[in-house]
Amino acid sequence: MAWSLVANAAQLLFVLLFAPLVAGVLSRLREMVQSRRGPSVLQPYRDLRKLFAKGEVISEYCSWIFRITPYVVFVAPLFVTALIPVLTDYPLFLAFMGDMLGGGFVLALGGFFATLAAVDTANPYGAMGASRTRMVGFLAEPIFMIVFFTVSSVAQTTIPYIVQKHWTSSLDAFFAPSHVLLMIAFFMLILAETGRIPVDNPSGHFELAMIDESKNLEYSGTSLALIKWGGQMKLLVLMCIFLNVLVSPWGLATSKSSSALLLAVALVWVKIALLLVAIVAVESSLAKLRLFRVSEFLNAAFVTSVVAMMAALLKF
């Protein structure tokens, strides 16, 4: 019981502290591929520190939604962290509080408030970006559902800690067509959900072309810091779900000791680094899609996930 709480706290700290580092490594890798030097991997931490020290400007016409949104966006990924395996192989204190759908809803809550807040400011770019994010969001929703239903029905449960055991039970299960296709579909989903190329350009500064970024145009100071940090944590949480639940729980701590936990931090970072390289490869080799082609990208991901479901469930 006590250990469970300690491990849970360790998982929360892992996501909280390393999320900016993931963003920093990602942008550094991208710059390196373009043969530029790029900012230090610690730059996101410096940005956050600077923003926390700055004052805020809040329009007097906006409502309470605008004020509480940064906190919701910041807290939502932390709630999900309590439900999923980040560092440990065995269920922790809060693991049975909610299943994967619950986690999905909590993440969606953050997105929902961010959308409302963007409309709340009456900044035209905010509302435009919000509606585009919703378009991407509602096209991504069925993929989430199908992927989760497929893994749940194969593993006969929806608790992420138990689901992950199935895929690695044998090599046959790992390389099954359904598993391969599910991984590809979820990878495409991560790209879309976190506003990466080919769906959105995270480093673009042109308001008319923004999808994800334009929602926090009106924020400044502490609120902007919380929103940025929350977005980075969302990326890390999705990556953890992908790596530890869908791909393989390899490297997670199996015993209840602090040394195993520390080793898991290192090994999970190895997996994260590999995934970051894959994301950078996609971002550097593809161009951003035109807005109305985004639906085709997500449609392809949807079809991939449904084919995976068929391959998993329709056996003879």
Binding site: S178, V180, N299, T304, V307, M310
Partner: protein, 223 residues
């Protein structure tokens, strides 16, 4: 060494089906050719694994011929004969838009998965994986063939059908003489060359290879 043959075959056939959908979803001829290459690589890998699983050495020859002809020779031939056609159009014309095409492909895959167990082929090697995926690849390939308007994307659809037929074929009859498999493989090359030359000539004389637009026969020099 004890390789996990069935599981690696699962990976190969998964990629096979993915690239069938990929060539249905992409708008560029170049992209189609790339997906065809990936599909042929996956097919060759699957045949090779089947050869190891069933201990039929003929299949190794089939895999090698497949690897030499489809991903390497045929794209090279296409580049050589129909260079203009390959690079001129950035976007493929098709009758239905891509999202609905993908959904139709999905229904075809569902049909394949539901009907594969009804086929009277109980003892096919690795039939559990190869049969439904091959059938799905076949249907999606036929659909690609039907929905594309120009000659070259249709050709890629035809190649997809052939790949899928081979995937089913080696699973159903791994002991087929090599000669038969070789004949199929070289047929593909002949098809590529013939269609390539035809496309080039048609394009030079008519200006387009859009099948629907060609309503009448036309002789050179008579306007």
């Amino acid at each position: 060494m004890n390789l996990p043959i069935a599981s690696l075959n699962g990976l190969a056939t998964g990629l096979f089906l993915l690239s069938a959908f990929g060539s249905l979803a992409t708008r560029q001829i170049q992209g189609c050719v790339r997906f065809f290459r990936l599909q042929s690589f996956a097919l060759a890998a699957s045949i090779f694994l089947l050869a190891m699983g069933t201990h039929v050495s003929d299949l190794v020859v089939v895999a090698v011929v497949d690897l030499a002809l489809k991903p390497l020779l045929i794209p090279w031939l296409l580049k050589r004969y129909v260079r203009g056609e390959l690079f001129r159009h950035r976007e493929i014309e098709q009758l239905l838009n891509i999202p609905s095409s993908l959904l139709i492909g999905l229904f075809l895959t569902l049909t394949a998965y539901l009907s594969a167990p009804l086929l009277p082929l109980p003892s096919a090697a690795m039939g559990q994986i190869n049969l439904p995926i091959g059938l799905a690849g076949l249907l999606v390939g036929v659909y690609t063939l039907a929905v594309r308007v120009e000659a070259l994307p249709q050709l890629i659809g035809l190649f997809g059908v052939e790949n899928a037929a081979l995937l089913i074929g080696v699973a159903v009859a791994p002991n087929l003489p090599v000669v038969a498999d070789m004949a199929f493989a070289f047929d593909m090359v002949v098809i590529a060359v013939v269609i390539g030359i035809l496309t080039r000539i048609t394009h030079e004389r008519v200006g387009s290879t859009e099948i629907g637009a060609m309503r009448a026969l036309k002789e050179v020099g008579i306007e």
